[in-house]
């Protein structure tokens, strides 16, 4: 794998084909879990882990899967991996499991995992597939974190609330009360807030993209 391939994969995952902002895939967990920054980050990382292992597994067996039954086989692989991760988390990181528990099985239904397995991993070598999955997962996590931060700040005036559920009681001091005495804004925490915040993010992304496309035009290098 060359450095350039590596860069292309990451550019696609983080920006050009960002799962959350451009492909608009995997929105179900995106909207449900992004009510606080910690929730968003945790689910984003868990999704990334599932995507990386699923893409790696799908890519390794891609020569043995007939085209007609590839989707059932991929779903089988993803569901099995998610269940394994669910069991392992339950057994070995129980406190984190109590926070994320109900969302882990939901990752199976996240179409971005299947989308990357079918669109990328089934046609590429394992290393490329894993890198692609990590880039895509990272892109999704970034969007989730920004969305979670926006909603938490607008909704309850804090950042990082609930971090103690992941890192234990001592971590409570990391909670940032950005707006002390804030009354809260319920809409931001409820599902409609997720749609509105995501809309704003997509608009910002598109605006920035449009500007970037216009710029080289205006500042075209002078002929020597």
């Amino acid at each position: 794998m060359t450095l350039q391939e590596f860069n292309t994969l990451f550019q696609n995952g983080l920006s050009k084909q960002n799962a959350g902002l451009v492909q608009l895939l995997g929105l179900c967990p995106l909207l449900a879990i992004s009510n606080t920054l910690v929730n968003a980050l945790s689910l984003g990382l868990a999704t990334m882990l599932v995507m990386a292992s699923a893409s790696g597994a799908v890519s390794s067996v891609r020569h043995f899967v007939p085209h007609e039954i590839r989707i059932p086989v991929f779903v089988l692989i993803i569901a099995a991996l998610v269940t394994v991760i669910d069991l392992l988390m339950n057994a070995f990181v129980h406190p984190l499991y109590l926070v994320l528990g109900i969302f882990i099985p939901l990752i199976t239904t996240n179409c971005i995992v299947l989308a990357r397995a079918d669109a990328f991993a089934s046609k590429n070598r394992p290393l490329h597939s894993v890198v692609d999955a990590i880039a895509m997962g990272l892109g999704l996590t970034m969007v989730l974190v920004v969305l979670g931060g926006m909603r938490e700040l607008a909704g309850q005036g804090t950042l990082l609330s609930g971090i103690d559920l992941v890192f234990g009681e001592e971590a409570k001091q990391f909670v940032l009360h950005v707006l002390p005495g804030y009354q809260g804004f319920l809409l931001a925490i409820l599902p409609p807030g997720a749609f509105i915040a995501l809309g704003l993010l997509i608009a910002a992304h598109n605006w920035q993209k449009a500007r970037a496309e216009r710029r080289p035009h205006a500042a075209a290098p002078m002929p020597a």
């Binding site: 007939p66 007609e68 569901a79 069991l87 809260g184």
Partner: protein, 220 residues
């Protein structure tokens, strides 16, 4: 024609076998992981339950194995239960000092709120904890101990303290505070705790007789 049909049949068989092999491998993987994690998960869950029980019962009240003391309780309107729930018996020496009941507040803001309520032998609440809920995060979820100490105000209450008409949230003229903008959730919890106290008062004799009878203990 026949040749074509034969090729199609062979293809179908091949695909079927491949799918079967994948299903077999996936199942084997799951069985393996499950068997390796089962005991650890069970231990974590037991520890989790024990820690919750420990939060609703002061340690001075019991010296028995709480988890082993679990018994079934028939569903009852006052507990909000539709299925048999569990009860744990706290003993100090041989004497029963308290029970822990499971109760459900069915009228929360979104869905059932599951509660664990410790009640001393004299009918005083020793502690209450929420074990499962779907209240609005950041708004109604302050009933959970990890988010706020709100739920601690039940400790020390009983059917006579406060009197019946004060067993309400402050907004309804009762003695329990509730945050502005989120009264439905605490209202439901207050009602459920009050209901559980009534249940205990009404069934006290039967519950304690059942608890005292050895051999009738049912483990899940």
């Amino acid at each position: 024609m026949i040749r074509q049909a034969r090729v199609a049949a062979r293809n179908a068989l091949r695909t079927g076998v491949i799918l079967f092999v994948f299903a077999l491998v996936a199942t084997a993987l799951l069985v393996f992981t499950f068997s390796r994690t089962e005991s650890t998960i069970e231990r974590s869950e037991q520890a989790e339950k024990l820690s919750l029980l420990g939060q609703v019962l002061p340690p001075a009240l019991y010296d028995n194995d709480l988890l082993a003391s679990q018994q079934g309780v028939a569903p009852h309107e006052l507990l909000g239960t539709r299925q048999p729930s569990a009860m744990w018996i706290a003993r100090r020496g041989e004497a029963i000092t308290a029970v822990v009941l499971e109760a459900i507040a069915p009228d929360g803001y979104s869905g059932n709120i599951h509660l664990l309520i410790g009640i001393g032998i004299d009918g005083t609440v020793t502690g209450v904890r929420v074990t499962a809920h779907r209240e609005t995060p950041g708004l109604g979820d302050y009933i959970v101990r990890s988010k706020s100490p709100w739920i601690e105000q039940f400790a020390g209450t009983s059917l006579i303290r406060p009197e019946a008409r004060r067993w309400k949230v402050a907004k309804d003229g009762g003695q329990f505070d509730a945050r502005a903008g989120a009264t439905i959730t605490p209202r439901a919890v207050v009602k459920a705790v009050h209901g559980a106290l009534h249940y205990f008062a009404r069934h006290r004799a039967a519950l304690l007789a059942e608890a005292a009878a050895p051999g009738k203990e049912t483990t899940p």
